[in-house]
Symmetry: C2
Subunit: 110 residues, 2 copies
DNA sequence: GCATCATATTCGAATATTCACAAGAGGCCA
DNA sequence: TGGCCTCTTGTGAATATTCGAATATGATGC
């Protein structure tokens, strides 16, 4: 990582990975996949978004290799690829909760 | 979290947090702050961006409460607020490395 | 073949992000 | 006070993201 070009490229990829997580719908998808694979139709039903919209978000998660897609007949099952993604997800969730708690204290203090 | 309105709001905040991480420059800033606080000028020198640009990125990290800013005379020192942020950062970095390794294998295999 | 169901992709409009530059704001010291 | 240093913020242009609607693809069964 001493080559600055390679370093910049790596950080760009890292940022793309974060970007893939930077949308509420995609976070909800990840939460849904936490307990195992789900078909697109199930996600549509459970999350209540347009099918094309979910498909677009799933494509983004696929491109960043955060999920795998397995075809079974005409239905496609999505699954999380790496448990570390949910670990990172949970860490940030804790950070957020902390921020909200401190925000409440600040709101009271000011 | 059973109230759907509250759930959506929480996921929106979570997404905003991820969004704050979704830029190479901001990831580089976090990496720089890993070993302790840094003045804005130091970051400018080490990262080689316009000072106003770094200030804009620092503002985004501040708004999401990922960093703290402490004034000392006329210089401002930034620091990471929560070590879990770097933990999440590192987890995603590992995921990325894994993806790159598998990508190489795929590139060879195809 | 054709119809149907499940999923994916394309398109365009609305919105958000990012950068550089210019201008503002606060602290320090003569 | 005035000048200088450090940092922040407003503006606008270029670019990227997001959504719904429409359309395309792909598998299944008749």
């Amino acid at each position: 990582m001493s080559d600055p070009g390679r370093r910049d490229e790596f950080y760009a990829l890292h940022a793309h990975l974060c970007r893939a997580l930077a949308h509420p719908t995609r976070l909800l998808i990840i939460e849904e996949l936490r307990d195992g694979p789900r078909a697109v139709g199930e996600l549509v039903e459970r999350l209540g978004h347009r099918q094309s919209n979910l498909s677009q978000h799933l494509a983004i998660l696929r491109e960043q290799r955060l999920v795998t897609a397995r075809r079974e007949g005409s239905t496609v099952y999505y699954a999380l690829r790496d448990p570390r993604v949910t670990q990172a997800f949970d860490l940030l969730r804790e950070v957020l909760r902390q921020v909200l708690r401190e925000g409440e204290r600040l709101a009271v203090a000011n």
